[in-house]
């Protein structure tokens, strides 16, 4: 009898902080996701142009040059990418910022530091 291995869902994590990349990567891997981490929105778009097998993007809001909000807009404006759920993270709990991101199509907005319960809740909802 043959068994089919279901591939792990692939999450692209974007954060300019090396510490936060390590933390979010570990959080996602402990929830059995395959994770690619990059340090900028620009790098994220490069990865997305090469690999369409991305099931979710989780990105920091405050990044130099291209913010997480800019990345969200670019993804949602792209015919090829717009179906990929995008989650924003920030250490600033700004209702204006959160509302702006959700209106632009973000699936969720997490306040840092991100906890395992945030990732579990998020992944079970977003990755169905």
């Amino acid at each position: 009898m043959s068994t089919t291995t279901v591939p792990e869902p692939h999450v692209l994590a974007v954060d300019d902080s090396i510490v936060d990349r390590a933390v979010i990567s570990r959080l996602l891997r402990s929830s059995k996701y395959r994770v690619t981490t990059v340090d900028s929105g620009k790098r994220a778009l490069e990865i997305l142009s090469l690999d369409r097998n991305v099931h979710m993007i989780i990105t920091d809001y405050c990044m130099p040059e291209m913010t997480g909000f800019d990345l969200l807009k670019r993804v949602k404006e792209s015919a090829e990418l717009k179906e990929i759920p995008v989650v924003l993270m920030s250490s600033e709990n700004s209702p204006t910022r959160i509302r702006r991101c959700l209106e632009e199509g973000a699936e969720d907005f997490l306040i840092k530091p991100v906890r395992p319960s945030d990732v579990s809740r998020l992944c079970s909802r977003v990755m169905k």
Binding site: S17, D20, K112
Partner: protein, 151 residues
């Protein structure tokens, strides 16, 4: 006997770090992410933090000494430090960064300089304490301590 003493020391040391406000619950959350595939995750991410934060502190100091001051840039640098400190549960550092940001907001350069000195002291103290903590943990071995050391 020696092993039990080490475990007690670890529990006591960790409790002190929390009681004295150096660490918050995020530290425990990271420790709970350790498993067979990543048995030293906490120590690794803490090491990453101290390497990265040393760089940030140098940049902040340089930005503080620059004239004219760019409070926007200063705030941005301290926000990065605050964020990564928060990610490892470095509570006192996070709080001092908030004070620094408030001084930036008030365009209070002297306040920024005082805050920076406090942040540097907290950084050095936390580094020393966590180095001692992880040194003890290495003597005990992987993960045996986790259950009994939770606050």
């Amino acid at each position: 006997m020696e092993y039990s003493n080490l475990r007690r020391q670890i529990v006591f040391m960790k409790k002190n770090l929390f009681d004295q406000g150096y660490l918050d619950e995020q530290f425990n959350q990271l420790e709970d992410l350790e498993d067979e595939s990543s048995p030293n995750f906490l120590e690794e991410v803490v090491a990453l933090f101290f390497k990265d934060s040393s760089r940030l502190l140098t940049n902040i100091e340089q930005a503080t000494d620059k004239y004219p001051q760019d409070f926007y840039k200063l705030d941005s640098l301290v926000q990065q430090l605050k964020g990564s400190g928060s990610s490892i549960g470095a509570l006192r550092m996070k709080n001092e960064c908030s004070v620094f940001k408030a001084n930036c907001n008030d365009r209070n350069l002297e306040g920024c300089r005082r805050s920076l000195q406090k942040i540097k002291r907290e950084h050095a103290t936390l580094k020393q304490k966590l180095e001692s903590y992880f040194q003890l943990l290495r003597q005990v071995g992987p993960r045996d301590y986790a259950v009994s050391s939770r606050k």
